[in-house]
Amino acid sequence: MSDLLRRLTSARGVSGDEGDIRKVIIDEITPLVDEVHIDRMGNVIGYKKGTNPKRKVMLCAHMDEVGFIITRIEDNGMLKFATVGSIDSRILPSKRVKIGDKGVPGVMGIKAIHLQEPSERKNAVKAKHMYIDIGARSKEEAEKLVSLGDYAVFDSDLVYFGDGRVKSKALDDRVGCFTLIESLKGNYPFDLYACFTVQEEVGLRGAKVAAYHIQPDIGLVVEGTTCSDVPKVEPHRHTTRMGDGPAISIADLASYSNKRMVSFLIECAKNAGIPYQIKEGITGGNDAGEIQRSRAGAMTAVISVPCRYIHSPSSVMDLKDLDNTVRLVKEFLEGCESL
């Protein structure tokens, strides 16, 4: 498990700049599928022909991650940036990033605490007031290393810690990519389309065209989702709990899961002795929204791996939850044609 997860999480793939992660995924799935299709948006679709195909099943995980885009190079060589996808700007100061294809190292800077007015110390700094320092002394020097429009990604390695837990960037949604790759190792009666989508974090864009192209009967989205089982958060706002197993969504802001699929997922989990939890709360949305309402509609559901500190360089996950997610998706695929 470890090697693949490391390859997936360390690859760069800010929304709109998924080239690096796309290459990793293509290399992984090519031996497992009948055909690899890269569409015009950049989605990777691994097609695995069924042994007795009556229906089309679309598995979906997004390749992209939140990050930054360089918007201006200052005379003093500092880079101004905008966020890509939703990022809490309070987590940014002093974070390390890598910029562009060359991975130019940079650090996010703000005014030192000594120089801040008392009122400034009380307020969170906005991203528009920060900059990325790449060690350049001038605009000319900086321009040799980066260009406007270059993407920057959190510089953060996968680290194993605790008893079977990991911290990394981009667990949302490389855990889904991981699960899809594992699922492609099985053989199924139906036509399986494993979609690794682009630009989910900026509005479910890749899934929209992928679903239109595939016209699936059944869509299952595998996500990394919020997990707030941490101090000072009231239990009714935890959303998910780490270690309690894959989270099955009843509804979120983008889709209301198909009830038969939800019942079937619960049945699969119970029969196979896989721990699961029902996601509490309806915040957030994911590719299922576009898949469910593509053309004349499809059945969809969502399974998620709980990830603390999502959309940060240091998301935390329990490997057992990922393992159980892989198991649950496999169980689902074994029997989903009866739906």
């Binding site: 239990p235 009714h236 509804a251 939800v262 029902i278 509490e280 309806i282 053309r295």
Partner: protein, 332 residues
């Protein structure tokens, strides 16, 4: 009409859970239509074939009502919830709600809060009278949805109930199906799902049906109560022909068709400009390469409360107007 509207507005059917409404409507109309089916999203689609080579017309009314989804059950048996659609704090405090299985609860809030302005939905809970989590879980599961527990009243020519939005529209379509004579047009009556979550059922059904023209039937707000936001729609002044809302600008030819038909037959009507909100036509008119779309609106006070109020005359005139429109040979 009163029996129909009482029946339909009293059925449990929050967004994503429209099955009981769908079954009831199906029973009402099955013998009056040529085809009837439920699609993958849960939309109920009934077809009345035309007598000539008229248009393919889609009529849409949404079956779903707003609801409260249980997101957490605490140790003492209280339920926390999230809103499905436009549930507001003000319309919810100390209101009763009911689940599909008949379990009744009261919406309470954390009274240590200093001001009503501090109350948000996440500071509210549903009390179903359970003494602990186990007892609560025997009645309700996470993901179950409650709706306002509402009493239907018919008083002074008004209908008051919990889900006039949009069972009034459903009733209007049901009545139309039962009363309409021969029409040259192929009529597709779609009772849609998940409108309150973003016009979702209308989107997929419009794609499947590829209509030439569409009219949604839904409630709209009014501007006729003390010191309310200005709006030129009044309860009892007739069905409203929509000019615009936040989701759609009514197609000029559809709007014109509706207005001239009302004038020709002496049916009272009013024009509606809603500065917020949206309805199924918002999704339908952008389907595929575009569908000329309009909206027939039923004026409704106290929308998204447990006491949505409509006028009996507006409903009857709405049915009359829709029938006259649909019986025409339409050129667009």
């Amino acid at each position: 009409m009163i029996d129909l509207i009482q029946k339909l507005s009293g059925i449990y059917g929050p967004s994503g859970n429209e099955e009981l409404v769908s079954e009831a409507i199906r029973e009402e109309i099955e013998s009056y239509v040529d085809e009837i089916d439920v699609d993958v999203m849960g939309n109920l689609i009934a077809v009345k074939k035309g007598t000539g080579d008229g248009k393919r017309i889609m009529l849409a009314a949404h079956m779903d009502q707003i609801g409260l989804m249980v997101t957490h059950i605490d140790d003492k048996g209280f339920l926390r919830f999230a809103n499905l659609g436009g549930i507001s704090v003000a319309n919810s405090i100390c209101r009763r709600v009911v689940f599909k299985n008949g379990t009744v609860g009261v919406i309470g809030y954390e009274t240590e809060l200093n001001s009503w302005k501090d109350i948000t939905l996440s500071k509210m809970y549903i009390d179903i009278g359970a003494s602990d989590r186990e007892e609560a879980e025997r009645l309700v599961q996470i993901g179950d949805v409650a709706v306002y527990h509402s009493l239907f009243s018919a008083s002074n020519g008004k209908y008051i109930g919990g889900a006039m939005d949009d069972r009034a529209g459903c009733a209007l379509l049901v009545k139309t199906i039962k009363s309409i004579g021969d029409s040259p047009n192929d009529l597709y009556f779609v009772f849609t799902v998940q409108e309150e979550l973003g016009l979702r059922g209308a989107k997929t059904s419009a794609y499947a049906l590829e209509p030439d023209l569409a009219i949604a039937v839904d409630v709209t707000a009014t501007g006729d109560t003390p010191k309310c936001k200005p709006m030129a729609v009044s309860l009892g002044d007739g069905p409203a022909i929509k000019i615009k809302d936040a989701s759609v600008l009514a197609h000029p030819k559809v709007k014109e068709l509706m207005i001239t038909t009302a004038q020709k037959h002496g049916i009272p009507y009013q024009l509606e400009i809603l500065e917020y909100g949206g309805t199924d036509s918002g999704a339908i008119h952008l389907s595929r390469s575009g569908v000329p779309s309009g909206v027939l609106s039923i004026p409704c006070r106290y929308v998204h409360s447990d006491s949505e109020t409509i006028d009996a005359g507006d409903m009857d005139n709405g049915v009359k107007l829709l029938i006259k429109i649909l019986e025409e040979n339409i050129s667009i």
